[in-house]
């Protein structure tokens, strides 16, 4: 048992170092250290694999090793470790945690594209959660996300072309044609479709071979930054506030609710250069994190957080710097709320005349929008 203890303690020390590397943005080092931690932890686990009565030690070590395997991308190894743990007699709460990990393993497996060749600029979107079965998904959770993704794609393209943020009006015909999005027949994974971008022959930026594929790369980069909570990098990548507000708002809409949809994954690139981005932070949590970063310092005593539920009755995007919306709550009181540039067209307007929940900051008479979402009653269960 002494050897098991030593291996486990070494694994945890390496996992600490890996965590530090991850936070410092040293991704390669993070993966390397996590793999090293996995090597120690899995050796410890396999050493007591035959001692079925040694619980919770046996299952906790296997679960710990499987977590490290998932973090280091060794999905097949994680599957084997989880299976070994469940084949014993884990305490029921550890067994539940192992099954949660197994779902992660399956989701990662589904993110791996099988039997389909992704071209340069193509990508796969995969949904996982209670609203998703094997090859079937509730339409609203899928359709809304495809639409939001398409909007995100065009906004990213317009930004990369150096166009001023379009607060109103349709996207330019040429751009819409050249970045047309095609959807494949859904595949039985968690629920996966291939989204294909129309190849652009006219739109070229100096030094870029393929505008569509590079736009997709920029988009996935931005999602990764939000996923990692790296808003400093996002601000550098999207310096224009309108585009940035819009990007954050649309990624929030794409994000899982944590129940019906637990993960939204994207796989892009070819076999040689596959890239996987998984959005797994629930929408509410993501919003809270974004709000913390974007709001004024807390010492600003006159700033009061406000949440209002009511009908979104009026949307006015005529002002140059901001739009105004009006939300009428159940008592009939109308609340005028200022909407930052970048949020009106794609985030707020689709909810016009719906029952919404608005979160904002009140400073004196002024109320600034931070986030808006359909109220539970309007949303079904997603």
């Amino acid at each position: 048992m002494q050897k098991v203890n030593e291996l486990h303690h070494k694994a945890m020390a390496l996992a600490d170092l890996a965590e530090d590397a991850k936070r410092a943005g040293r991704t390669d080092e993070y993966i390397e250290l996590t793999r090293e931690a996995l090597r120690h932890e899995s050796e410890a686990a396999w050493m007591i694999a035959g001692e079925l009565s040694l619980e919770p030690s046996r299952s906790v070590l296997f679960r710990s090793a499987a977590t490290l395997a998932i973090e280091s991308g060794d999905i097949r190894v994680a599957e084997q470790l989880i299976a070994a743990a469940l084949a014993g007699n884990p305490p029921s709460e550890i067994a539940e945690e192992l099954r949660d990990l197994l779902e992660d393993v399956y989701f990662h497996r589904h993110l791996k594209v099988r039997g389909v060749t992704l071209g340069h600029g193509d990508f796969q979107m995969t949904l996982e959660g209670k609203a998703v079965g094997f090859g079937i998904a509730r339409s609203e959770v899928f359709v809304q996300r495809v639409k939001d993704f398409e909007t995100l794609l065009y906004r990213t393209a317009e930004r990369r072309l150096g166009r001023e943020f379009r607060e109103a009006g349709r996207r330019k015909k040429g751009l819409a044609q050249s970045l047309e999005l095609y959807i494949s027949v859904p595949r039985a994974a968690s629920f996966a479709v291939t989204l294909k971008l129309g190849k652009n022959t006219q739109l070229q930026l100096p030094g870029m071979d393929d505008f569509s594929a590079d736009t997709m790369t920029a988009l996935l980069d931005g999602i990764t930054m939000i996923n990692d909570g790296n808003l400093v990098a996002l601000k550098e990548a999207i310096p224009d506030e309108s585009y940035r507000n819009n990007f954050i708002g649309l990624v929030e809409r794409l994000s899982p609710d944590g129940n019906d949809i637990r993960t939204v994954g994207f796989t892009a690139g070819s076999d040689q250069e596959e890239r996987i981005v998984a959005l797994s932070t629930p929408k509410k949590e993501l919003r809270a994190r974004m709000r913390k970063v974007t709001q004024k310092p807390k010492h600003e005593t006159e700033a009061v957080p406000v949440e209002i539920q009511g009908i979104l009755l009026e949307a006015d995007a005529k002002r140059q710097k901001e739009g105004i919306i009006e939300v009428v709550d159940s008592t009939g009181t109308a609340h005028k709320i200022a909407v930052p540039r970048g949020m009106m067209s794609d985030i707020v307007k689709p909810m016009f005349e719906e029952d919404v929940v608005v979160v904002g900051i009140r400073r004196g008479d002024r109320l600034d929008l931070q986030s808006i979402d359909l109220a539970e009653s309007e949303r079904g269960t997603d």
Partner: protein, 186 residues
């Protein structure tokens, strides 16, 4: 093995003491989470020593002694969610110590590390006869939010059979205030 009520009140909690490590916390990790806790307290406008109410299965007041964080530390811990989570680990570890248990082991789980409590002289095989420590942090909330987090944690660990003993601690940094609940005492 369960918590035992401290003799004196208020209990003293010195964040810097974690820098020397514990059986299950290496010194570097202890120093790091203590720094996270100080960033959270500082950001909520507190100054040291800070009075904190502990309620739940045991009611007690505590005095938290801490060193104001450097600018560098504030920048390093600028992800609120991450800092709150790690700061809560620190406060929770130091509270349970006052009740006779210490973090003696860790393991990896989906959301980070899993902490296991035992007596300081724990000698058994890994994770044998230990109690899980479930921690949740709230940067700025109210009692309703604390109760909701406690309920969430209890539900997470609630199963029909074979339950592992657990101590659930939810730390809120605005008050600051902490709720501690013991589930399935040994």
């Amino acid at each position: 093995m369960s918590l035992s009520e401290p003799q004196a009140e208020p209990i003293g909690i010195a964040l810097a003491s974690l820098a020397s490590g514990r059986i299950g916390i290496p010194p570097a990790a202890g120093k790091s989470i203590a720094e996270a806790a100080s960033v959270c307290l500082d950001e909520r406008g507190h100054s040291s020593p800070t009075e904190m109410a502990v309620y739940g299965d045991y009611e007690m007041s505590a005095n938290i002694d801490w060193i104001p964080p450097s600018d560098q530390a504030k920048r390093w811990w600028n992800d609120d969610q991450y800092a709150t989570e790690h700061g809560a680990y620190c406060i929770a570890a130091l509270i349970v110590e006052q009740y006779g248990l210490e973090i003696v082991e860790r393991s990896k789980k989906k959301t980070g590390f899993d902490f296991w409590l035992g007596p300081k002289d724990a000698q058994g095989a890994l994770f044998q006869d230990l109690t899980r420590l479930e921690v949740s942090g709230v940067r700025d909330g109210n009692r309703a939010e604390i109760e909701s987090r406690v309920k969430q944690k209890i539900n997470q660990t609630k199963v029909s059979d074979g339950v592992l003993p657990a101590v659930i601690v939810v730390v809120e940094f605005g008050g600051p205030i902490a709720k501690m609940v013991e589930r399935c005492k040994r």
